[in-house]
Amino acid sequence: MFEWIPAYQRFLLDVTLIDIILVISLLILFQCGLFSMATAGFAAIGGYTSALLVTDADWPVPLGILAAVFVGATLAVSFGLPVLRLRGIYLALGSLALAQVIVIGIANVGFTNGVFGISGIPTEVTTGWLVAIVAVILLVMELIHRSHFGRAMKAIRLDEHTAAGLGINVFAYRMATFGIGGAMAAMAGALEAHRTAVISPDQYDFGLLVVLLTYMFVGGVEHWLGPVLATIGFRILNENLEFAGTDWENFYYGSILVVVMLLAPDGLTSRRFTQRLARIFRRRPDLAT
């Protein structure tokens, strides 16, 4: 379906679409006020689950990806029970530790082929698949946003104690989003493995997390459109700036993040920032009445 796109552009599109899935898997946690950094870990779990099942056990690729989703959700829910008792910076640290344990574990056991990773994974994932999956995810995100579920998530993000006083089951919402986030990250990992044919633990280190957090914070957590646009924007920047792929890349990511956090602490699509922009561009009424 997307064969008319030149190979390189198609590659860029694929990479961006997988990044979008990862960013959304992080976003839904933040929309519930969960500062979780476990995404990279779940992505690694998903990638390895599917890669191993398909290469070693000869499972068909779609089944491998489904298994990855299942394992990701199960792990997220079982880790969520202890980890979600933490709040704020403690949750961030706890979930980061979890992600690191997963990735370091993968690098140090035999059946995953350690730090060398796995190569020769069957690649069946096409741009068409990715477009369809991302479309479904974004549609669901929009449905959530427009429903009372989205309102409840926002309430939890803004003030969880008050939200509870209004009958919102904060813990259930957080468990559900943690599970869904884990499942989505795992799916992204599996899709990536079946796109590139290789997987290794270093793909899922702290660096990936920094990139995803940058996309999300620059875009803003209020609506999915912000992080999606930020992901696309950063990809375009990355392709057109000469220092992409060099050490300067991290520098410009960091600078953009700092500047955005100063100008628009809630992201570029936040209501606060757009209203401020509107005020600046609107002609100020004459104050001398």
């Binding site: 104690h161 939200a163 904060v170």
Partner: protein, 256 residues
């Protein structure tokens, strides 16, 4: 005359924080349909008691029953579901959201549709809930502020938004923690009138307030808390005449 049924009962309720006893052996009933005032000097344990009644805290001794059933082990959201709504002493609104958004969030329990319910049915549900929220906003006299950001509003208005949001869960029992603090006289008179209307509509209200006039005018009974204990509970006039109440508020001539 029939014995009034008690909607909320505290039986020997106590709450300690370390070595401090904030609420000490409180036995108190809120009767169905009444407005019960809860007064006491600062630090008497009023807010702690409200936190216990809304399951934000659990008692270290004694038991609280709502509609005849114990609330032990209940989470705040379960209690909201059972029909207890509250406001907070330090006004807890969802900031950077509109008045309508705040009140609509309070309608959370009114929504039944799942995520997959689409089209007309979803639209109808949303419209119905929105309408209810708008009615509450009008009831609180906030119609002209409906789409304003609550963060930019005055203290008195914010308190009213909070009351509207609490009413949005359609509670049987409304716990108001100093609803008129920071309000002008006219504004607090409005709140008094509103409480009267709610009472006429059959709601049970627990009102914490320092405004003696408001409490006298709106409450059927008043309970006085001092050092975590109920020192008097009676009709307002009786309570003001009570020697122990005068002592708690004004002190005695003796030192010590």
């Amino acid at each position: 005359m029939t014995v009034p049924t008690e909607l909320l009962q505290c039986e020997g309720v106590g709450r300690r924080f370390g070595s401090v006893t904030a609420v000490d052996d409180v036995t108190l009933g809120v009767r169905s349909g009444e407005v019960l005032g809860l007064i006491g000097p600062n630090g008497a344990g009023k807010t702690t008691l409200v936190n216990l009644m809304s399951a934000y805290l659990s008692p270290t001794s004694g038991e609280i029953k709502f509609a005849g059933e114990s609330i032990a082990g209940c989470k705040p959201h379960e209690l909201a579901r059972r029909g207890i709504a509250r406001t907070y002493q330090n006004v807890c609104l969802f900031e950077q959201s509109t008045v309508l958004d705040n009140v609509l969030t309070g309608r959370h329990l009114g929504f039944q549709g799942g995520l997959w319910q689409l089209g007309r049915k979803r639209h109808r549900e949303e419209a119905r809930e929105r309408q209810l929220a708008v009615e509450l906003i009008e009831l609180l006299g906030l119609a002209e502020h409906m789409n304003e950001d609550v963060s930019a509003m005055s203290y008195g208005l914010r308190r009213r938004v909070e009351i509207a949001r609490a009413l949005a869960i359609e509670p049987q029992l409304l716990l108001l923690d100093e609803p008129t603090a920071g309000m002008t006289r006219t504004e607090s008179d409005e709140v008094g009138r509103l409480i009267g209307e709610l009472r006429a509509g059959g709601m049970t209200v627990l009102l914490i307030d320092h405004n003696v006039r408001l409490v006298s005018e709106t409450c059927d009974r008043v309970a006085v808390l001092d050092w975590g204990r109920v020192i008097a509970i009676d009709e307002p006039a009786e309570v003001w005449a009570d020697e122990r109440v005068r002592e708690a508020y004004l002190g005695t001539g003796e030192s010590g």
